[in-house]
Amino acid sequence: MKKLLSILVLTIGVVTAFAQQQEPEMADTMRSNGKIYVVVAVILIVLVGLFIYLFAIDKKVRNLEKKIEDNR
């Protein structure tokens, strides 16, 4: 009985070790508690802000081009 029990314990140990090997660590906690959305939102704010800025520069250049056209 004792032998059987030790074999069982060892098997469970080996199986869990294998399971850990097959499942590399990922940011699962961050996903499960939804904090990842905060990161996504912050990056999106920065990105969209930079896009608006780039469009503003674009518009400035276009206005300059127009001014030059009109002066001709």
């Binding site: 590399p24 990842i36 990056i43 999106l44 969209v48 469009f55 674009d58 300059l64």
Partner: protein, 219 residues
């Protein structure tokens, strides 16, 4: 140049890249773990750099065939933005290497090739700055530009594949074998590449327009 549809597509693709790149499923791999998502941000920098340097040497060839100052301006501004992309590529690569390989600079064939490419292009800017005569500057730098682009191809795509390397796509394995296991990453990776390339061309086009105005008034 005035059309905005491609700028808007760049915006949409990059917003999709951030959302998909951070939230969509990725394979669970040892060592890289969650950093596999860097694929959507680090690799497109190089694709962007290659596209911009390609455009740069395209206009260098155009200049040599027909020496108009506009071709020179196009060529140089594309090279500027391409160089910025390359720097971002090398810094993101160093940070990733620190976590995946254990050192910032591993001396990996791919890393060294990328560094040499950037040095080649820094020499391009040094060359331009050292010539006072405008026609000569444009002509010599156009010739050097074509040389730098041709030299970049073996440095990034041939030599790293002939040696053992930690970098994916090196040491004999072509392309993204490591990631080819699943198609879900491609759903984000390809749009990410297109988006980052379009953003590079957007910034370059703005620089070109400013330089063209400058040329008209103060050239």
């Amino acid at each position: 140049m005035k059309a905005t549809w491609w700028k808007i597509s760049a915006v949409i693709l990059l917003i999709y890249t951030v959302i998909g790149g951070l939230l969509f499923w990725v394979p669970r791999l040892a060592i890289v773990n969650e950093t596999i998502r860097n694929l959507y941000f680090h690799v497109p920098m190089w694709f962007g750099m290659i596209s911009l340097f390609g455009a740069s040497s395209w206009y260098a060839i155009k200049y040599l065939r027909n020496p108009r100052v506009e071709h020179d301006i196009y060529s140089v501004q594309f090279a500027h933005v391409g160089f910025a992309y390359g720097m971002l590529g090398i810094f993101t690569g160093m940070l990733w290497a620190q976590y995946a390989w254990g050192t910032w600079w591993h001396g990996d064939p791919k890393q060294n090739g990328a560094a040499i490419t950037l040095l080649l292009y820094s020499a391009f800017f040094v060359l331009r700055a050292s010539i006072e005569n405008e026609d000569q500057r444009a002509r010599l730098s156009a010739i050097y530009n074509i040389f730098a682009f041709v030299a970049m191809i073996p440095l990034l795509f041939v030599i790293p594949r002939m040696q053992d390397s930690l970098h994916p796509g090196s040491g004999g394995n072509p392309g993204f074998n490591m990631y080819d296991l699943d198609n879900s990453m491609r759903m984000v990776f390809y749009p990410a590449c297109i988006g980052w390339i379009l953003l590079g061309f957007w910034i370059a086009s703005t620089r070109i327009r400013i330089k063209l105005i400058e040329e008209k008034y103060f050239g």
